[in-house]
Assembly symmetry: C2
């Protein structure tokens, strides 16, 4: 076993030496654990603790209420939205940060159905990815109920076949949370538009890991979380993208005072603000939001194209190392091999995945287990190196060579 080990370790060193993003790792707080769970909770960016401390002690503790203006609290949702925008291929003024992904899915889907019906057409179907992260499906069901639609869950590859004149809105995931499969955003967006429906993309598992191209591909609405590849911290606020051309018609089911044209006019009648901030609702959670803002500093000078190139190299290398280290027949690769179909994670089916993941974590390799039989490894190119990948695969091979605990 010594020969292939040293060869792969040598290759890892070569790849790390040629990695233009290697230096970005120092912008994070990391230890000797191989952290392959950044697709669940991103690591802590080094600048966050100090910034949060300033927000708490000075902005809240000393300036108190004055900070809504003086510390830029009030405008944080759209300001931070504009920081996320280039990472998802959006021009400024189309993204606002706030609320959870689930809440944003409701805004987007109800808004999408209303948009689709503006021409007077009787559209009564919401199509949603049947393999989606469950919350999207539950909220889609709720959006359907609230708008008099029927929810039609279908596998993403079958979506084009079920679209038609009854389709109001379509909710899709850019990358499947379990398999790591990357869906064809441009083609699916075109297919939805071809029948006059409105598309909502969930970017939770793609934003910060690969180019999305929202503007370029004419996406209508998109949502995403910020605590995975954007490293915003546990439960950091999600975001909502509303394409500029449809903003003045976007009709939110959550018309809170923060999206009013004149929020401090305290008017009894609701008049929606112009632009992206029509997606805001209530008072933003400033601590979480400004932690996210500080976290986004790690992107300075980093291109999403470079991130994507490294992500593919990392996952390719992981697949190669696993093949070399793991006894045959013990694992099944769930994530597609083709680059155009792969996100930034590798999912491996393994009968005793729960137990295997426990042992990996005990030995300093952190991925996660997805019920019932999936080992999921996320690769954040900003702080994961090829040496990490080689080590992870090596430890995985060791664990799988051991007798199974019963």
């Amino acid at each position: 076993m010594s020969e292939p080990v040293s060869e792969l370790a040598f290759k890892a060193r070569e790849l790390d030496a040629g990695d233009e993003l290697a230096g970005v790792r120092s912008r994070f707080v990391l230890d000797d654990v191989v952290y392959l769970d950044g697709n669940s909770l991103g690591a802590l960016p080094a600048g966050v603790p100090e910034r949060v401390d300033d927000v708490v002690r000075r902005q809240w503790g000393e300036l108190r209420i004055r900070s809504w203006e003086e510390s830029g609290w009030w405008t944080a949702p759209e300001r931070i939205g504009d920081r996320i925008a280039p990472l998802v291929g959006a021009a400024a003024g189309q993204v606002v940060v706030g609320d959870s992904t689930s809440v944003n899915v409701l805004k987007a889907l109800v808004g999408a159905v209303r948009l689709a019906r503006l021409d007077g057409s009787v559209r009564d179907e919401i199509v949603a990815d049947a393999t989606t992260f469950p919350t999207d499906g539950y909220i889609a069901e709720s959006a359907a109920r609230l708008t008099g639609c029927t929810l039609r869950p279908v596998a993403p590859e079958r979506v084009p076949q079920v679209l038609g004149g009854r389709t109001a809105a379509v909710l899709l995931n850019h990358v499947d949370y379990r398999s790591g499969r990357l869906h064809d955003l441009p083609a699916l967006t075109d297919a939805v538009h071809a029948v006059g429906a409105v598309v909502v993309w969930d970017l939770c598992h793609s934003a910060g890991a690969l180019p999305v191209g929202l503007d370029e591909h004419g996406v209508d609405l998109a949502v995403g979380c910020t605590y995975k590849y954007l490293n915003g911290g546990p439960g950091s606020p999600a975001y909502l993208y509303v394409r500029r051309e449809i903003q003045d018609r976007f009709d939110s089911p959550l018309p809170g005072w923060n999206s009013h044209a004149e929020p401090f006019g305290m008017r009894p009648d609701y008049e929606p603000a112009a632009g992206a901030l029509r997606g805001r609702v209530g008072t933003p959670d400033i601590l979480s939001m400004l932690a996210l803002e500080a976290a986004l500093d790690v992107w300075d000078g980093v291109s999403i194209e470079a991130v994507r190139a490294k992500s593919l190299a990392l996952t390719d290398f992981f697949v190669q190392c696993v093949a070399a280290r793991v006894p045959q027949g013990r694992l099944e690769l769930v994530t597609p091999v083709a680059h155009r179909e792969r996100g930034s994670q590798i999912a491996l089916r393994c009968e005793d995945a729960g137990e295997v993941m426990k042992r990996l974590i005990e030995r300093g390799v952190v991925g996660d287990f997805r019920h019932p039989d999936v080992l999921r490894f996320g690769f954040t190119p900003l702080y994961v190196g090829f040496g990490d990948v080689e080590r992870a695969a090596r430890v995985l091979g060791e664990v799988l060579a051991e007798p199974r605990r019963t």
Copy 2:
């Protein structure tokens, strides 16, 4: 002018000496400003900065994903809900923390309409306080639209007259945000129940300032923010109360994965959890939420009855000092004089309120201005003393005695 000044200052000293809550002030970070804006953003509790730093550096930075279990992140919404519960007169297991007040108003109101219709009755009206903080009205309008109801805005005192067989749900404020008027929660709740409708109370301006008695008075649903008298920090998460008896029928328009009976089962079908956590939606914003948890430590050993007694004494004394210091005819008291109709703030109508508040703030007395002509002063009994009150009224008298800037 010297005689009355010294008399009131002397009385303030006496009142401060007899104040059983005087020691609680040291649990906050305060300076020499008289901070009468705690009804907008509560002051910083002294224990918060260290706790937040631990959450960021250790829980997120070192434990990372493990903290969802090991640091109790996952159960924070219901755990912190149970900390708030006694402050609003609720037994454990009925309050969850999360999302903004606006989002919780939507959950509560749509849920209320669905509850009211469970017996098959055709109820199609939502009654809402016409003088409410605007966001409640906007969301009520949205809830009406989403459930096929009509929104009927009426002054709170007229609510009993408009209730009837068509009433599905009623949204009321316990304390009016502008006038500081305290509404009769027990009587109005009874009136709503008498017609078979469901009541939703907004406690933003009462929770932490006076006893609410949710359980005692049979309230169905309630929402509130935590950044006013609960001092949770800017935009800290709101909460939702669902009375135990109706929890198994509470049907939320935001059925996110966090309210699923088996959230990690990743099941495509939604099965709501039992109990209060049915009000949860998506991943909770941990930083803001755990800051709130730390902030609630200031309540250790403090009874809400003692807070109420001091609040009334503070506002009584403020009214007395203002009457002694301010030229007659310059101000009009908006807040009711009767204790049973008064929250924990004093609102004064003043033609040039915007300019007056600016000058007050320049001189270290912070209240706020509510469009178009209201000076609003909030009294947080945990950290405001009678000396503060005397000083605030004295400075107000000085400002109002000056020539008006034009």
